[in-house]
């Protein structure tokens, strides 16, 4: 009895960790955008859902597996993010939060309802052979799709880390995030860097969408939920911190899976929001953020 319970507990944690990596990648996009521009992307879940739909459409109409369409979607999303930042968001940098909020709310409404208008309200998923496969490690079973998605998410996060630490553009973006005035003084093109940042953030969430569609089917109504989920993850992990977003994703992934096992599945979000409140009050810089925020 206890043996069975322990096994299903370990199983839930494994599942949560794998899904959590994809959550982490999604939240990474939000965190990068906020960390650099101090703009909260209220359209984040909507971007995620658009990514899921694109991967679904590529599979449905061209029989391209989401893992293969992912790079294309990421590039498309980079362009979309770049254009959004250049065309809409740039003038709102440094403006009052409620104006940024209204702007991105407008973007969110247009994006999610464009999905609804084009595809309709029914849920859409992809049928992959990998969904019936699994890997076994001792007594533990790993769903193949979740494992693939988690590995892909780790690879993308690693690429992102290399971008921010090794490339000139990445370093320049970090410089602009650390000291906006200083970046301007040394002659960095901060507007372009901001557009690249939004592009990178959007590419993350688009890629996360392509991975998520292999795990669960998509409906337009998921968008708002994902926006909230991404907020919870980045706050718990530490807004603006890359490792924080990934660790936060894992934590929320695991807590959801465990709550689903131990209690009513609908209580899983209650735990997440409880955690969000506790972190906001006791450690607003996040569990994995820097020691001092001031």
């Amino acid at each position: 009895m206890t043996q069975d319970f322990l096994l299903s507990f370990a199983q839930a944690i494994t599942k949560g960790l794998l899904t959590g990596m994809v959550y982490g990648l999604m939240a990474l996009g939000l965190s990068v955008i906020f960390g650099v521009m101090r703009v909260v992307n209220f359209a984040h879940g909507e971007l995620m859902v658009v990514g899921m739909y694109l991967a679904w459409a590529a599979f449905e109409y061209f029989q391209i597996s989401p893992l293969l369409s992912l790079p294309v979607i990421a590039v498309l999303f980079f362009g979309l993010g770049y254009a959004l930042q250049r065309g809409l968001i740039q003038p709102f940098i440094g403006r009052p939060e409620h104006q940024q909020f209204l702007l991105l709310l407008g973007v969110a409404l247009v994006l999610v309802n464009a999905c609804l208008a084009i595809v309709g309200p029914d849920s859409r998923g992809v049928q992959l052979e990998a969904q019936f496969e699994s890997y076994e490690l001792g007594p533990l079973v790993f769903d193949a799709v979740r494992l693939h998605a988690a590995i892909a998410a780790i690879v993308i996060a690693a690429v992102l880390w290399l971008f921010f630490t090794r490339t000139r553009t990445g370093k320049a973006i970090r410089a602009a995030a650390d000291n906006h005035m200083g970046a301007l003084v040394v002659g960095l093109d901060v507007r372009r860097l901001y557009a690249v940042t939004f592009g990178v953030g959007a590419a993350c969430v688009g890629a996360a969408g392509a991975l998520m569609i292999t795990i669960i089917p998509v409906t337009p109504f998921l968008a708002a939920e994902y926006t909230l989920l991404a907020f919870v993850i980045v706050i718990v992990g530490g807004l603006g911190s890359m490792t924080g977003a990934l660790m936060g994703g894992l934590l929320i992934g695991v807590s959801e899976a465990v709550a689903g096992l131990l209690a009513d599945p609908s209580l899983k979000s209650m735990f997440s929001f409880g955690l969000l409140i506790a972190v906001l009050l006791l450690r607003p810089q996040g569990l994995f953020g820097p020691k001092s925020s001031s």
């Binding site: 409620h98 919870v232 209650m270």
Partner: protein, 321 residues
């Protein structure tokens, strides 16, 4: 009344006269639209006190409306206690919730986005709690009996009754806002909104003033919740505490002009008008979601071209400033 330009007073008088006779003039549809306008003007005014005056961004006001509605409707449903008595319990519950959220947020000095996320978190947390609370009907909802009777005492009746109640609330909130804004407290709020540290330095009791703003705002919002519950006769946690409900409350004042007295009202007219037009367009085109796409585009256009809101611009244009 002092300090209000006579021309503005004249316009307001005419407007009030029209609103008083509107049920006799307008048809059923017109009245239902006007009810929506007044509802959004009222909740917007309540939210505006906290954000527009005191500068504290709440994206979780559905919490106060939902609590108010559930408390009054629950007391009526279970014990037959009429809303005029239940409303006191509703106000107490919502004020308490506001005080808790506000105290925690301000005490731990959360500002801007962080404070807004705290308000969202409390609202969502409460939504999930109500989903599992059987006294309040759980996720299946709470339904008030509709027996066709008209009783002012139990707030049972047709649209005209609810129209006059929400009109009274909207006018009352406007007057209250004006009185508050002209008071010492109102000046303190503006000082805190502009620069909390400087306000603190010159001796403004910042924490106390912010707390008063949250509690007043929450209490007023709960009245709208009570009104809403008895007007629609049903309550679901899914909608009553939803993020969408909270966002909806913020739109009229932001669109109309944050921190202005008439912004919420103008914003409510613009938004409800656009909503009705886009609903018609959407039905004509027959595409799901098209209404919301237009709505989103309209929000984008307004925030891009009139970021300070419609009213300050309009007031300048028609010489009411």
């Amino acid at each position: 009344m002092s300090g209000i330009p006579p021309r503005l007073l004249g316009v307001l008088g005419l407007l009030l006269a029209f609103l008083l006779v509107a049920p006799a003039v307008l048809g059923k549809y017109g009245l239902s639209v006007l009810i929506l306008v007044l509802y959004f003007a009222y909740v917007g005014q309540a939210w505006n006190i906290m954000m527009g005056f005191a500068g504290q961004l709440s994206l979780g006001h559905a919490l106060y409306a939902g609590l108010g509605g559930y408390v009054a409707a629950g007391l009526f449903f279970h014990y037959g206690l009429g809303p005029w008595a239940g409303v006191f319990a509703a106000v107490v519950a919502a004020s308490l919730a506001g005080a808790i959220v506000g105290y925690l947020g301000f005490r731990f000095s959360l500002a801007g986005v962080y404070f807004a996320l705290l308000t969202i978190a409390f609202s969502e947390f409460t939504r999930l709690a109500f989903d599992h609370w059987s006294w309040a009907g759980g996720s299946g909802g709470l339904f008030l009996k509709v027996d066709g009777s008209t009783s002012l005492l139990n707030l049972r009746g047709g649209p005209v009754l609810f129209y006059y109640v929400i009109l009274a609330l909207a006018v009352g909130a406007l007057i209250l806002s004006r009185v508050l804004l002209e008071s010492r407290l109102g000046r303190y709020w503006l000082a805190i909104r502009e620069d909390a540290e400087a306000a603190q330095a010159v001796g403004v009791p910042v924490l106390r003033c912010k707390m008063i703003a949250v509690v007043i705002s929450a209490a007023l919002t709960s009245l709208a919740g009570v009104w809403n519950a008895f007007y629609y006769n049903n309550l679901f946690p899914e909608t009553a505490f939803s993020m969408g409900r909270s966002i909806e409350i913020t739109l009229a004042p932001i669109i109309g002009g944050l921190g202005t007295l008439f912004g919420p009202f103008i914003g409510a007219i613009v938004l409800t008008g656009l909503g009705e037009v886009f609903t018609d367009v959407g039905e004509y085109l027959g595409i799901p979601g098209i209404k919301q796409i237009f709505y989103g585009l309209a929000l984008l256009a307004i925030v891009m071209y009139r970021p300070a809101g419609v009213w300050p611009w309009l007031a300048g244009r028609i010489g009411l400033k």
